[in-house]
Symmetry: C2
Subunit: 202 residues, 2 copies
């Protein structure tokens, strides 16, 4: 099968959205936790969390502020802090449900039956049910001129994870953490370990 750019433009809108969202392959599933200055909490699933750099430790995500992600964005700007929490096999249905359009006054923690957790006096809420909890400080907010989405980057302030889930080289074992991956927007997958390779040399 072959689609060229004209074919893609002429696809039915929802079909195109699903197709293009699935081009990159398996994506990580994460919940972003925020809290407004008034104390309203917000939780939203993102499939676009990425590694930006290890030293300094930076993570990024792609944000569409005009959509359901707007409350998350407002809270980030207002307070400067957010959390990234992994989506596990036990909570992927609740996590997916956070993508519904709730009012700002209604916390997705309550609406989707997930539990706020506060650790080390960090302002933003973690997800108690997640097995990997990362606290970040907002460092950079760049509007991509091509389509007005934003690249949001935070510096890693805290990492919380269970004992004994690191591989010898420092890699977090996401299979042991029961983290899921997303294919496109709606299809959730767990993983099956193939092999740990070494640093490649010519």
């Amino acid at each position: 099968m072959h689609y060229n750019s004209n074919d893609i433009e002429q696809l039915e809108q929802r079909f195109r959205t699903s197709l293009i969202n699935s081009l990159a392959g398996f994506k990580p599933a994460n919940l972003i936790g925020t809290k407004s200055q008034n104390g309203e909490t917000n939780l939203a699933i993102f499939n676009s969390v990425m590694h930006i750099g290890a030293n300094p430790a930076l993570m990024g995500l792609i944000m569409r502020p005009a959509t359901v992600e707007r409350h998350t964005y407002e809270n980030m700007l207002e307070t400067g802090y957010f959390t990234i929490n992994n989506v596990t096999e036990a909570i992927y249905k609740q996590a997916h449900q956070t993508s519904a359009r709730y009012d700002k006054s209604q916390s997705e923690f309550n609406a989707c039956e997930l539990t706020e957790e506060y650790l080390e006096d960090f302002h933003a809420p973690y997800v108690a049910e997640s097995s990997l909890k990362i606290g970040l400080k907002l460092e950079h907010d760049y509007e991509i001129p091509l389509n007005n989405t934003r690249l949001i980057i935070g510096s890693v302030q805290h990492i919380h994870l269970p004992e004994n889930c690191l591989l010898q080289d420092g890699t977090i074992n996401h299979e042991q953490l029961n983290s899921v991956a997303v294919n496109g927007l709606y299809a959730y997958h767990k993983s099956s370990f193939l092999e740990q390779l070494a640093y490649a040399k010519p």
Copy 2:
């Protein structure tokens, strides 16, 4: 276990690199194909390919130009075109090997035993062994000031994939394509389907 920002700064460098690279969860594995104006081809594995938008259809990746990814970057700038090819279970070892530091005169296609393929007169080479092949035009190149990595964005010109691998809603079934995911920098995983959820409503 808890690491704060001071703990992270004081970690041994390779341990920190592995830890921070694995924070986001399972990442897609893709091969980026390019060709210089002189006809030298280059192939490099990236774990940072992401969805930027569906209309127009845009994909991005994070680039570290000072490293082995430099030849890919030079070819992109010189010609304006590149390909994204999925890494499957059959080729993940060869794909990983493209991360070694080869000279620009030595093509990773030859060094890593992968096959160049040219489709629809597109300038950049595809990977014949991949089951999903995407041709892109360079549209945007943004240097992230925090650490001088770059966000590279291309518009989707061509999508090549086998018949019968789309879900009904348009999502590409990456499990059927045998696409792999990466945990951190070195650990390869295949997927195991859990469930296809619906568009979420409150």
